[in-house]
Amino acid sequence: MQTALSIALDAFAYGMALFIICIGLSLTMGLMRLVNLAHGAFAMIGGYIASYAARDLGLGYGYGFGIALAVAGTVLIAVPLERLLFRRIYDRSALSQVLMTIGITFCVIGITNYVFGPTLKTIPLPADLARPIDLGFRSIAGHRLFVIASGLAVAGGLWFLIERTGFGIKLRAAVENAPMSRALGVRTELIYAASFALAVALAAFGGAVGAEFLPIEPYYALRYMVTFLVVVSVGGAGSIPGALAACLLLGAIDVTGRYLMPDFGNFFFYLAVILVVCAFPRGLMGRAP
């Protein structure tokens, strides 16, 4: 029982880290119909900025400052990219989008490798988060609890934003019927740019807080691309509860599988993916196309 609880906690933390990174991708793919394989690249950029801020500028500014800088900096980098590149492929075929965003990923990897070198970068944690916290049945790194809390906050905040605010209504309208929304005075270009920025900000945030799970290095952008893509489509692109369910389910299967039969760890994961996709061809909570 104690072991089961302990594993469940690990799975939960891991799933939440995945969720924070993937939810932005789910939004771009589901709402903006943009297959953005460069999403991991933005998460990586966020991680690098946070690492640079916390490590090289000194921790004096704090972990929170590093993360805030990561989000702001990554969005700042992404905005010109959106104007120059992404905007041209919103209405192109999925395969063109794949080609372009893989190209962007290659460039980002190459440039990162050149600028920061190929070594691993860490984001030093403040003492409070680095300490193991005793939960009675086991100790857990404080950071993991922080990730869980962040994940829940992100899920709640996004749900509120999309379902309950004016921006959310306009976004959903623009997705359902762009020409009609334009005719009604919604500036879809702005809406798209804003939601792209939001997705990038989430990626950067996830890259920074998830760095303990997915360490920051130049190849990050490609290494985890498959995982992100799998999680998003298992959940159903564009659905927040779906992405949350997928992250928790896949996180649980991954972690439990590795505990029970580490030899066949990856088998469980991909078998589960095949079974889930076959059972729910639109993802766990996907919208009808």
């Binding site: 594993i7 190929p118 691993l120 993991r144 190849y219 972690v255 439990t256 590795r258 505990y259």
Partner: protein, 398 residues
Amino acid sequence: MMNRRIFGRLMQAGALVLAGGLGLAGAAAADTVKVGIIGPFSGPFALQGKNFQAGVEAWLAQNGKSVAGHDVEIVYRDLPAANPQQARALAQELIVRDKVQYLGGVYFTPDAMAITPLLKQGNVPLVIFNAATSAIMTSSPLVVRTSFTTAQTTTPLGKAVVDRGVRKFVTAVTDYGPGVDAEIAFKKAVEAAGGQVVETIRMPLNTTEFSPIMQRIRDAGAQGVFAFLPSGPPTLGFVKSFNDTGLKQGGVKLFATGDLTQESDLPALGEAASGMITGFHYAVSHDSDANRRFVAAAEKAIGGPGQLSFPAVGAYDGMYVIAKMIAATGGKQDAEKAVEAVKGLAWESPRGPVRIDPETRHITQTIYLREVAKDDKGHWINKEIQSFPEQADPGLAK
């Protein structure tokens, strides 16, 4: 007849122009010995490739760009990940078109296996800077290796840790060739020394989340863990998990081969790895004049401290071996003579005294027991605490 010759010339000229246009041409000067180096210079293992380059450049910086009057020219070729087809294509081009007399580098075993069948026909020796499976050496008599094998670094470690009073072990290795090699070698060594391996865990590749593995280790109730993972992100995840889940505080000892604590990863591992004990053939902090000279040159070549680690010393010593080969053959292409000339060759490497075993053509060297600790400047290093001289590769011992 005449026409055909002119046609042939034209074709040749055309080919040259094309090749030149592609930026591939490069007719060798009269007396230049070309050395082709294949390594992962981009992609997920770019750091290791960069270390190859640093080792080579360090050797050239110290010894000049000519050997016994023959200019040495290095041709680098990128092979980002294990890909035997590409390895063969690169090696073939280096031999046939670039006319290299020596091949060096090679990070992954399957790539080496794809190159070895070409060596005899190409009359080219291959000096392996890394790829660490025993079987490569038996696949061609023209292979010499200046790195290590997993069994070579693990066997003395197994003995040493039992001698230090730990009896009950769990092994946790990544589930691929080298990991399995390490598991088998460690288990054998520990059992020979009177210890016991109570559980062997094989972990999936490409995992960075290790808490379930830690839970298993805890369940097994071992005093010590032996780990083997490919260097890079998985290592960091493993060591962090080991700390975060309280195993370290619970008094469980973590042992590994030096791949886990390669110097370029140490700043990231930091405090988490403190006290970890590893067995390996080279530490950047090794205390000798030869090593200090090497480190100075290699750090300059790699462009800053903190990125240098073990592949560089394999490359550096590889260049030493290649230079001896060039000198022994007088710059002429004669692979058999070249390999013959370095059999039994012994010298002082930055890692300590080494020797090419005449039987196996693999390097015999000192294996060190090291502990992750801070040096007097506050940098994390692999501090050598015990040495096991004259270690051959147990995988090749007959």
